[in-house]
Amino acid sequence: MLRLEPRREPSAVMRALSPALAVLLTLIAGFIAFTLMGYNGALAIEQIALAPLLDPVRWPDLLIKAAPLILIATGLSIGFRANVWNIGAEGQYILGAIFATGAALATWEMSGRWILPLMLVAGAAGGAAWAAIPAFLRVRWKVSEILVSLMLTYVSIQLLYYLVRGPWKDPQGFNFPQTRMFSDSQTLPAIIEGSLVHLGVPIAIAVAIIAWILMSRSLFGYSVRLVGMAPQAARHAGFSENRTIWATLLISGALAGFAGALEAAGPFGQLVPQFPANYGFTAIIVAFLGRLDPLGVIAGALLLAVTYVGGELAQTSAGLPQAAAGVFQAMLLFFLLAVDVLARYRIRVGGPAHARAGA
């Protein structure tokens, strides 16, 4: 029988080590699971977790996949710190793309350097506006932001379908459900000649670093952390919980929307029904993997980008379905949550688990 014994102070060593341990356990469990399902387990794991790292040709791809994850997860990590559970980032991401596309279609046949920034700002505004709905309902009537933000994700997907099949359908698109291709002024420039690595990559990293400074050094970051861990102490300190809910939802919504705009103006270059790529949900895993710390989020995003790219590789080489990467990611989060306990408790084997009562 396992027994948990709380540590007086969380172990810093275990906190730092636990993500590595979680990755290791996930590799082992993944190997077992994929083998049991009749796939070549060793090959599948090698393809999902290692191949993208070893092959320099894949590196740009990793960066491109990591950029939206970094942006969204940075925003989510700020909210989660405050116990504000925005799990509808996918919807805000889609709204960001919709707003950016709206800006692109409105500036159709125009050109100029101002168009792209306009699209990005529109995207951030769209994401923030979508997140403002759960923020308002939570602050005004205590409606669960978890359920509202998630319901709005389903709504946003339908909105996307409607737009690309209806009013925004490309008139020259042979009736395919998609918008016009964006013009040169409307697409992100590549920053590495000859690759697809776009401006969004350095922007995402910069955003994470700024967020890290804000969260660890500023009074705002302090108030967010305090509201999350001790709401009563936060009220005593004079911080407003409602303002924190608004701020964290708007920030995470804006960053998700911004990521959507970058993705639309970058890799996609138009809006299509296949736009939703689950980044908004994967970013939840990234945020936890990064210990709700923006610098950790960068590392977590790169790690999950590996599983995304590796998942695609394993599809062709090991015949693994696309969903395998999702299972792999979820297992990673399970194991992370499980090993996290090592930072807070010592695990003792045996002995009765009687505890102080009423104390």
Binding site: R8, S218, A237, A355
Partner: protein, 519 residues
């Protein structure tokens, strides 16, 4: 009422020891409780009383030592086993379920299913046999703390215990309620049930108990017949040093008014709160004003209203003549009013922040710990270090997490954080709750010194002795209403007790009548 000497003791402990990481909670503890005896276990907070009774009740297991029950060694692996043996316990923290009825709560106290009607009959029997006033149909959240304690007592009595353990039972009672409890306990002892009575209030132990075992630092340091021993001698055994008294300069009477509360009313926050009703008080510079009362009568709500966590109409609260009722805590602090709530972990301090980070919580406005929106880390560390030094806080430096401190040390840190800001007005709730005597004396001295500098201080406390030592005047809060202030010189405990309980009793009766009225 001691049993004949040849009978074996009901309960005997021999060499009981228990350790927690870093603490030796119990060390070679031996003593015995005779049948029909009311036995006191006295000791300060942290002396090891709670651990010991949890071992007897099977909540925790001793590392070494033997427990004998009627002369035979027994193992008590769980509370269930203790109850089977005939041990009942009333904890200081009640194990009750707020939204459920009294009878449901009593049913949950049984280890087995019991027929509802049968239970109601038994409960009615006990309530009348011991003259305990309690309505089994009421919901717990409508009950006073005293009534809640009675549920716990009834739960125990239904098991026909041979030994009843009471853990600090009077800390939540008015003096009159305490007297009624003592009558019940004496009746129980007469009927053959031994009582193990845990307390640090020596007066009531003298009044109630046949024998006393005194604990200090996890060890038995003495035993005595409390009816024979002097209170002072018992106190010195308990504390292990000669008693110190708070040094207090002669009062510069009649400073100018600093805090004034005028007709402050506030609706109850949520289901379980208390409404504040037309509260008025005034505290002058250099004055310490006490607010006495039984827990749960609006103390928490009053502190929140004074600190700014709940707002009121602007002129309901004034500081140096300025209406601050509508300001939040930050703005009030900037103007000179600081507050210390009762709950340390999670209210006065954030347990997972370091001590340095915890200074930002309430000292940032007055000490400039935040510059251009960023936290001045060096300044926070300096201030935390100063508090640790001046208030002798035991901690592993300024980077220790607040949760790693013992209750008393954290309280010293929090009090230091407010006092070293030299606020013009300070509101403190339970300044020495759960703090050992040495630290309590230091905190009391710091409060007196702060008042001597011209600050106005309000102390909300359930510890009457504390208020009587420190305050110039005090008032009693009951069901959200505050009595007229009384000067300490010339006030009697009985008078305060009546204020704490008199109104309360009437109101409780009214509530009961309403509950009985046909719907």
């Amino acid at each position: 009422m001691a049993a004949p000497p040849e009978a074996p003791p009901l309960l005997e402990l021999a060499g009981i020891g228990k350790s927690f990481p870093g603490v030796r909670a119990n060390d070679a503890i031996s003593f015995a409780v005779a049948p029909e005896e009311i036995h006191a276990l006295i000791g300060e907070n942290g002396a090891g009383k709670s651990t010991l009774v949890k071992i007897i009740y099977g909540v925790q297991q001793a590392d070494e030592g033997v427990i004998r029950w009627r002369g035979a060694p027994v193992a008590i692996p769980s509370p269930k086993a203790a109850r089977k043996l005939g041990v009942g316990m009333v904890f200081q923290h009640f194990s009750l379920f707020e939204p459920m009825t009294v009878i449901e709560n009593i049913a949950l106290g049984f280890d087995h299913a019991i027929d509802r009607r049968e239970l109601e009959r038994k409960v009615a029997q006990i309530l009348s046999a011991y003259a305990i006033p309690l309505d089994p149909r009421r919901t717990v959240h409508t009950l006073s703390v005293g009534e809640r304690q009675r549920i716990e007592i009834v739960r125990c009595l239904l098991q026909n215990p041979k030994l009843l353990i009471m853990d600090e039972p009077t800390s939540v009672l008015t003096p009159q309620e305490a007297d009624r409890l003592f009558d019940t306990l004496r009746q129980l002892a007469r009927e053959g049930c031994s009582i193990l009575y845990i307390s640090h209030k020596l007066g009531e132990i003298k009044a109630l108990c046949d024998r006393a075992t005194i604990l200090r630092g996890g060890k038995v340091v003495g035993s005595c017949d409390p009816k024979q021993e002097s209170t002072r001698r018992m106190a010195e055994m308990m504390i292990g040093a000669e008693l110190k008294t708070v040094a207090r300069a002669a009062r510069a009477g009649g400073g100018q008014e600093r805090i004034a509360v005028a007709h402050l009313s506030h609706p109850a926050p949520g289901h379980f709160g208390v409404a504040l009703k037309d509260i008025s008080l005034s505290v002058r510079a250099g004055e310490i004003f006490g607010i006495a009362g039984v827990a749960g009568n609006g103390q928490t709500e009053l502190l929140l209203a004074l600190s700014g966590e709940t707002r009121s109409a602007p002129d309901m609260i004034t500081l140096d003549g300025r209406a601050i009722g509508a300001f939040g805590p930050g703005r009030r602090r900037r103007l000179g009013l600081c507050a210390v709530p009762e709950e340390r972990n999670g209210h006065a301090a954030a347990p997972d922040f370091t001590l340095a980070e915890n200074t930002v919580l309430t000292a940032r406005q007055r000490l400039g710990l935040v510059e251009h929106g960023f936290i001045a880390t060096a300044k926070t560390r300096d201030y935390a270090a100063r508090i640790i030094e001046r208030f002798a806080v035991k901690a592993h430096g300024v980077s220790a997490l607040a949760r790693s401190l013992s209750g008393g040390n954290l309280q010293k840190f929090i009090m230091g954080r407010e006092i070293l800001q030299t606020p013009d007005a300070l509101i403190v709730s339970q300044p020495t709750w759960g703090v050992d005597a040495g630290a309590a004396a230091a905190i009391h001295q710091a409060l007196v010194d702060l008042a001597a500098r011209g600050s106005a201080i309000v102390i909300i406390s359930q510890d009457l002795d504390e208020l009587l030592t420190l305050c110039d005047r005090l008032a009693v809060i009951n069901e959200g209403k505050l009595s007229a202030p009384l000067a300490i010189s010339g006030v009697s405990i009985e008078q305060i007790g009546l204020l704490m309980g008199g109104v309360h009793g009437e109101a409780a009766q009214r509530r009961e009548e309403r509950a009985h009225a046909p719907a």
